[in-house]
Subunit: 359 residues, 2 copies
């Protein structure tokens, strides 16, 4: 981790770095920001989280933490009890896609295992007893699956998973019963947004039982032209079926986006350059900027870098800025909490300094 990016975000004694998935080195990473697979699991000895009592929940947290300790998770691993974490630290974990918003804001004994590179997180006592998540840079469906499956196998040898031979893994919410698996690919689709073809693509995606979600998952808005494509069905399909469907459909969307970028360049290169460089200029010079506007300019710059229209900025810096300019990260970097207007000022100064260092 670069010294500049030292957040001081410690998770169970482990310093959290910026994450492999921000380096932009994965396959198709000009368009695919990340591939994420999560598995929902519950154990038979305890009630589902919706009907568990507080003392049982505390026992469950302790029980699962002990089992997780026994498992060999690759990398630098820490466990954080979220009840003991600050609100700001919990928000940072949300912004890093390592815990859900609900997990951050709910009450009671609950926690998360994270790997210092941010590739792995295991939520304890979220909507299900366990949510195993692997997060990888670019389009890495198989690698992400192999990793999460290996962890799942190890845990399965230590735990009695709630499993029905008829339905598969049992979960709190019926939408997850079966595989308990959600595969999400985060796509950066500025050219499809610009050419207003994005709705058409989503329509096609919905027709094949995939869902489109916003930057922070279900029920959230698209920010910075990022969209998550994920499977809708978990029941009556195998993990392999879902991975196959994603492996077929995502490259089609990538192709659409690439074609549109090419079209934009061929038809109006200077217009596209103008859009990208104005975004650079605004990020370099603004004195007040909110998170949404930052995301929107960063999106244009990200496309510009990936199309070779901007060669002075490494893509990793652009990717990092998407995360580091989010409210909680910004406050963490700043060393104290900030009200919104102050935050917009600190954000502008942070972006400005970071870009000036590149010139």
């Amino acid at each position: 981790m670069n010294e500049r990016n030292r957040l001081g975000l410690s998770v169970g004694g482990v310093e959290l770095g910026l994450g492999e998935w921000l380096e932009g080195k994965g396959p198709e990473s000009d368009i695919v920001m990340s591939t994420r697979i999560r598995l929902a699991r519950n154990v038979v000895q305890f009630p589902f989280p919706g009907r568990i009592e507080e003392d049982r929940k505390a026992q469950l947290e302790r029980y699962l933490r002990e089992r997780l300790d026994e498992v060999d998770l690759a990398g630098n691993i820490g466990y954080q009890n979220l009840n003991e974490a600050s609100d700001l630290d919990r928000q940072c974990l949300v912004e890093r896609h390592l815990i859900s918003r609900d997990h951050a804001s709910s009450k009671g004994e609950r926690g998360v295992v994270v790997e210092s590179g941010g590739t792995l997180s295991i939520m304890v006592n979220e909507e299900d007893h366990l949510r195993l998540q692997v997060l990888r840079s670019g389009l890495q469906l198989d690698a992400a699956w192999d990793q999460v499956e290996a962890i799942d196998r190890q845990l399965e040898s230590k735990l009695d998973y709630a499993f029905s031979p008829e339905f598969g893994y049992l979960t709190s919410c019926p939408t997850n019963v079966g595989t308990g698996m959600r595969v999400s690919v985060m796509l950066h689709l500025p050219a499809l947004v610009m050419t207003k073809l994005i709705e058409k693509v989503f329509h096609a995606v919905n027709n094949v039982n995939l869902a489109v979600r916003g930057f922070y998952g279900e029920g959230t808005q698209a920010l910075g032209d990022f969209y998550q494509i994920s499977n809708q069905v978990t029941l009556g399909v195998s993990e392999a079926d879902v991975l196959k469907a994603m492996a077929e459909r995502v490259p089609q969307i990538i192709r659409y986006e690439r074609n549109m970028r090419e079209k934009l360049i061929n038809e109006n290169r200077i217009g596209l350059e103008d859009r990208v460089w104005r975004a650079v200029g605004l990020l370099e010079r603004a004195r007040l900027i909110n998170s949404e506007e930052t995301m929107s300019y960063l999106s244009a710059v990200r496309m510009g870098v990936n199309l070779g229209l901007v060669d002075s900025l490494p893509i990793s810096i652009v990717n990092e800025l998407f995360i580091l300019t989010q409210p909680a990260h910004l406050q963490k970097l700043n060393g104290c909490e900030l009200e919104t207007p102050e935050r917009d000022e600190v954000r502008a100064a942070f972006v400005r300094d970071r870009l000036a260092a590149m010139n």
Copy 2:
């Protein structure tokens, strides 16, 4: 004249520089761009331009040119027959406020005397036989008057001016009869525009027989928050009355603008800085920019420089850019005519280079 700004704009063999009034050194030049006084004069031996025949007009042009040659005009003086000038050169003279739009686009024998610094121009065969103009940096009513009056006196000794003891100087249009004088002060009023108080100021100005005009005079739009205040009445008043009214009213408007700038800084300094620096960023980075948008950003930057919010840019560069980014100047600098989309590209490159040279 700086080598960079060599336009190759030759007027009667005299190379036209950028003009003293762009240096921004005149009194109150944070708000007053320029003071201009023009006198309309006609000679008794020839019909008014509206009813003159082509051959008489040609004779008049020759006659006036010869008399102008006999007069001692300070500085480096050239005379250009506009019928023999290119359309682009004529447009450049319009953009420099040295000839009117009508004078550029009309037909027949007509011309202009200019001083290489752009402080003096004398139009021949415009709406009147002669239009003497002095243009000075900042608020310099008395200096401009002294200069134009001295030239007028010399010319009066060589020419029989059409003059009525009852009405004063006779002119083509009744609105100029009397003094034949128009005093125009070009004001930069971004804070009054921003705070939406500009209409109120104009209303007050109109009540005292002053008029508000756009960047290129009567019937033109305000550009870059520039407004010209000028006298409406020429009949039944003395030159001294008009100068006195302007000398009373203009400083009031200057005070309003200064108060509003101070208020903006006191109430939301960071918001004002944001506006100014975003304009800098867009000018530094845009790849396509039209004249109006350029003027609008330059206006914000000009105010920022004058308020000390931007210290890396000399005001002369900002003032020059207002003129050099106008369509004809841009094409002249570029060395050839350009269609509009190309022009926006060349303009963006020109502004970018000029600002990059300041960093």
